[in-house]
Symmetry: C2
Subunit: 207 residues, 2 copies
């Protein structure tokens, strides 16, 4: 085993450290976040920081860099309090990855990549029509992380769309059937395979 110390990390070239730090969590969820501004300009951006925060209500976290110029997703969410999470499958991977390019605000990533916006009544933000699992959220709260100024966006799930066959009676969703992708670092994607479901773990009775 190779050991990398804090001094080694601090001495890394900036781009190397970014790839390294972004690899450490393990396989990450990756989704397109759909949003819209007050002038009805749509935006799509890939994020790999979607995190389960709670089930009742169903809350999901999303981490954004600080609200600097060009962070369209965060500023749109603050403006309209509405956003969507759209899982990525291999059929839209290249288009999804292309959404990470820096487009000016007037250029929608939908138009630039050929993905199709889908709207639902009473939900401001656009979904990705091609996505197989689409989630609409309503902004609940944002919290700035003092250590580096990044922002945790906390949203409540208000609508979910998915193929009926992928939802089991016990509430679990068959991500393998949906071919939902995982990611690592900034540029690498994985399929998921070999699902293993284990039974609820119980401690052995004490002797």
């Amino acid at each position: 085993m190779k050991t990398i110390t804090l001094a080694d990390i601090e001495a890394m070239d900036k781009h190397v450290r970014v790839q390294f730090a972004n690899s450490l969590p393990g396989p990450k969820p990756v989704s397109l976040i759909g949003s819209i501004d007050a002038e009805h300009r749509t935006n799509l951006a890939p994020f790999s920081t979607v995190t389960h925060l709670g089930s009742n209500p169903a809350l999901i976290g999303l981490v954004s860099r600080p609200d600097l110029v060009g962070r369209h997703t965060l500023s749109n969410i603050l403006a309209t309090r509405s956003y969507t999470i759209n899982h990525i499958h291999p059929g839209i991977l290249h288009q999804a990855h292309a959404c990470s390019a820096r487009h000016p605000r007037d250029v929608s990533e939908f138009g630039a990549t050929g993905l199709t916006p889908h709207f639902e009544e009473n939900i401001a933000a656009p979904f990705v029509s091609e996505a197989r699992l689409r989630i609409a959220l309503e902004l609940v709260d944002t919290m700035t992380i003092p250590a580096n100024g990044t922002v945790l966006i906390i949203g409540k799930v208000v609508l979910v769309q998915l193929p009926g066959h992928s939802l089991a009676e016990d509430g679990s969703i068959d991500l393998f059937a949906l071919d939902s992708l995982a990611s690592t670092a900034l540029d690498t994607y994985y399929k998921i395979s070999d699902p293993t479901r284990l039974t609820y773990a119980k401690a052995k009775p004490m002797d």
Copy 2:
């Protein structure tokens, strides 16, 4: 496509809603969190809320339920400010899953499952010797999420151990070679396959 509304989610049986909400983020990272209390009693627990928060310094988030009786990981981290993240591979999956059982504080999940603790100088928390990617963190901050009382634990990476061949010169880590697992819901695990690395996305020049 099937549409599930907020009213549908609220009407779900509690266990169904837990599986459903825990499936929504997509394939999640899953690791064993190693910790220790002030009396040197070790603890291991699987978490699927490990999130990248920043690269300089390298910061990682971890979401825990509130500090109630029995949340040994959170109370240990608050006591010693030290913890480890240990990726799970198929060879230790059943042992790792068994760590989710409720053991009394006097029973270490190491002893109960047969996993081997590994210690490094100046790091209080135990690593999992069998893990192929091990990360030590120092507690930086905790933030309570007002919406449901869960706690975001923010840690700084202070040591990483991994097989030398899995670390590329550009800083990325080959999670596929390490066979790091992903997870969904509360009980399902996936292998990752078919790595696809895409080039940096640039916007097309405007006409």
